[in-house]
Homo-oligomer: 557 residues x 2
């Protein structure tokens, strides 16, 4: 249940596309991480560009860092816009003050905005290179950041213009002493032939290279190729990863996307990597693979917001849950929801005139007899439905439980027969009773749901009967205890019925039923369509139950 | 698809529990809103308290607001910590500058932190009261904020200590001219008898009062009461809403929770209300009802983070989606995932030696004959499975589609018989052929899945056959077109088979199959357990397909 804490140290973006607002909370949340964020500078920006920057006093950056480090167990740190040498320095100092062993740092060397605003000054760049990058597990420059960082590493600048120079540049950046470099390829167009050329070159040189193809059709996928572009013409975006350890290299190859929803792509990717690491990714390659795919899908599924470069859809991989959590004081949230979903028909069922008159002892004898005869017939359907549930089960536990229920029903039938005798109805008469349409409707509906859906949907069809009779029993007993109650126990020929359904044996079956559907809803959380189906089945059964008692009151067949 | 934009104007909290980090992005995200955030002040705080505050220059608050308002279509604004009179004033001015008709404002009058830090100075409070509150749709003070606001409204201060004084205080706050006041009851303990007393009092006075009971058992829920506390003893938390319009009043009543995960409860609630309004809630009462329930569950489901008052679980109502979105260039993400999920067994199936030898024309005649005889038997299972699918369907479209497939299979069978005659196998011989175990295994497995699960699971069992033969057909044709191909078309007695499965008629059935399962995965997005089941069925079928060809190669029964 506990979430790993990831800290971002960066600027804010009021429009929510980049900055801590995008990478921190949206990306971390999408990865089930808990996000903390220390703000280095406020920006005024939107999808059209950066309009202004207000740096935070370095000492207040320190104060924010102290508040976080003193209280939270930070697993991974991601740095973005650091703005100045002062801020960069105090970040490094504060880290060293709080940690003997500094948590994994992903340094996104944000320097210049697309609109030309300086996000890290020249002195800041120097401090970044000499003090933060050597502490970093990974740096994640794009083409221009890499060129800027390289311009001083090398005497002469290195230009990055194709896949080969991306690898050359990334390897040279290892000289700045991070553990690894991910050079982002968003601004370099690559074709599959370039990928193959690099692959062959490295193979010839004996260099270990992993090629991760993303959203590209692999082998044995001819049936999917009808609407896909020819791979050899496709424009690709390739990110390049080089690691100091074992001289490992990797390429992440995917189709280039033509989209204007790219505001904050870089910081989203580095935050996604930080999250994957915090979640315990086995290797950097695996973390980058997942994070690039996450970012790719976030761009693809974005809807336009604002007038310029809109934000990504950071939450593309989450959906809304429809069933509340079970809590110690709220053990049956799903059943609660079910009852509320059709409170009227549930009430018409469990407080039916038949039930009231039964409780008062005023119920017409012929109506009660009609009811118990039809109930005898109905229970055969009900037992068969549990047989079908058994046939649809996939675990021994489920087979055992439905079989036990059939045995319980057989026991109930014996009681039934005995009490029928009290009303002078023989077993022969029971067996000769014609089946009423209301009985057929209810019984056949349950079996139809059993044929038509899965075990869980069938379980839903079985619950209104099990739980409703338990509710009726408890309600009658509760009412009987109120001062001046309308319920009659003495000389009520039907009171035995209320006792049976409020009794320990039946109520323990009710509890098992409640437990079963609550666990089912947690283990198989339904999507909207399925929840609607489940509730539909439940509601229909409450109406069929009401119809069953109407049938008894009207002595109908 | 497009999300409504909600703007928060507030302070930041590096620990992520309160401030824009909590209410803005987490709460907005949980409500499917797009969050923008303008920072008024940075704080250094954590779960143990506020350690420092760094206000943002008012002119930079304006610049942030301008960036947002110039680019985004803000539907609802939520204000939190405004820190000073200057900032409060420029917020009101900037709003008036950008909007003819100001968007709905929810004003959370944050004044003092629990740890005693001033979050809004005295002058600021005055500006808030005179200029921001009158523009607000709703203000959401807690007990002490309400008392502070009231201390100057009234000559003498109003103390809020019970449910009745909460209503009195809330009504008096309407004098400050917001449209409505929500007085939060987190610091006032209430019992059910107090709720009933207020209900009766208002009824006597003819005042319109809505009582919303949350997470409390209602009527006809006897079966759920076994583990619930007695309602009359239960400590309750009640929020009180009063509206200027029609003198409407409402109470939101729920069990008090004993939890230390309450850092940022207030701002979470007001952000949730803002989100509900942005999403188009019909009434303020409905928005508050949903928002209080959201906040309640966020507290209940929180796990401890930090050493003091930990944050809420803002994302309790979201889950992770497992199937990527369909995109124009990625039409079959679910099938892509399926094939990748068992690439090895899929390859062993579609590139089986039987297929290779068939393509080369070197396949032993007896093996091919064994295969087509068993395929004739298998197809009867396969047709019956579509009959079962028809029986399990809930829409006319689904009934039509499975029935059409049976007709297609009947057509395939006629072709089958004709080509068998080419191999001198009569229909009588076909019907007399004993069924091989591999045929029974595959056919009976599909029917078992059909008995055991729902229509979608059965559909999964039908796909490996449909799609795999299409894949084999296309693969053989593709290979045949490569220079120096191993595939032989001339004088290959089996080539007709490759042509049939790569032909237009069969491939159009493949496309319908692809479309069917992609739509199915989007319409019925599986949870983890169901996805595992679906993939399990798919993989088992690919292995049974391989077994089918093994059987042919080994001439086995």
């Amino acid at each position: 249940m506990s979430k790993p804490v990831v800290l971002t140290i960066a600027g804010s973006d009021p429009s929510g596309g980049a900055g801590i607002q995008a990478r921190d909370l949206k990306t971390f949340a999408a990865h089930r991480c808990y996000g903390a964020s220390v703000i280095t500078a406020l920006t005024a920006q939107n999808t059209t560009g950066v309009q202004g920057v207000h740096p935070c006093p370095p000492e207040f950056v320190v104060q924010q860092l102290d508040s976080v480090f003193e209280d939270l167990d930070v697993r991974v740190i991601k740095t973005g816009m650091l703005h100045s040498s002062d801020i960069t320095s105090v970040v490094v100092e504060t880290l060293s003050k709080h940690y003997e062993r500094i948590p994994a740092i992903i340094c996104d060397p944000v320097c210049v905005s697309t609109s030309g605003h300086t996000l890290l000054d020249e002195d800041g760049l120097l401090v970044l290179k000499t003090s933060l990058i050597p502490l970093s597990l990974l740096i994640t420059p794009n083409k221009s950041e890499a060129e800027l960082l390289l311009s001083s590493v090398q005497g002469e600048g290195t230009k990055i213009h194709d896949l080969e120079s991306m690898f050359t540049g990334a390897v040279r950046l290892l000289d700045l002493n991070p553990q690894a470099v991910l050079l982002k390829g968003g601004h370099v167009t690559v074709h599959m032939k370039d990928v193959i050329a690099v692959q062959e070159k490295f193979e010839a040189e004996g260099i270990n290279l992993t090629v991760v193809k993303q959203n590209l059709l692999g082998e044995n996928m001819e049936i999917l190729s009808a609407f896909s572009d020819d791979l050899s013409d496709l424009e690709l975006a390739v990110d390049v990863l080089v690691e100091k350890a074992d001289n490992r290299r990797a390429m992440f190859v995917r189709p280039r996307i033509d989209s204007s929803s790219t505001h904050g792509t870089g910081c989203t990717l580095s935050s996604a990597i930080a999250s994957e690491l915090a979640n315990g990714s086995h290797s950097l390659t695996k973390a980058v693979e997942k994070a690039t795919m996450y970012t790719y899908l976030a761009i693809q599924s974005a809807v336009p917001i604002g007038e310029g470069h809109g934000p990504l859809n950071h939450l593309h991989n989450i959906r809304h849950s429809l069933i509340p959590h079970r809590m110690p004081k709220h053990l049956y949230p799903f059943t609660h929801m079910l009852i509320n979903s059709c409170a009227t028909s549930w009430k018409e069922y469990v407080e039916h005139d038949f039930v009231r008159q039964l409780g008062q002892g005023t119920l017409d004898r012929a109506r009660f007899i009609h009811f118990i005869k039809q109930d005898y017939i109905y229970l055969k359907y009900y037992a068969r439905a549990y047989g079908l549930l058994s046939a649809k089960s996939t675990s021994w536990g489920a087979i055992q439980s439905s079989t036990q229920t059939i045995l319980n029903i057989l026991h109930e039938i014996e009681n039934h027969k005995a009490s029928c005798l009290n009303f002078h109805i023989t077993e022969g008469e029971l067996d000769r009773t014609p089946e009423a349409a209301a009985t057929t409707a209810y019984g056949a509906f349950i079996l139809d749901i059993g044929l038509q859906g899965d075990a869980n949907k069938l379980t839903m069809a079985l619950m209104a009967c099990l739980l409703g009779y338990g509710e009726v029993g408890l309600w009658l007993v509760k009412e009987s205890r109120l001062p001046g109650t309308w319920v009659v126990q003495q000389d009520n020929p039907y009171w035995y019925w209320a006792q049976e359904y409020s009794g320990e044996m039946y109520q323990s079956a009710v509890k098992i039923g409640l437990e079963t559907i609550e666990l089912m809803a947690q283990a198989d959380p339904p999507n909207k369509a399925r929840l609607k189906e489940w509730i539909g089945v439940w509601e229909k059964c409450t109406r069929l139950e009401k119809g069953f008692w109407d049938m008894a009151m009207e002595l109908k067949y």
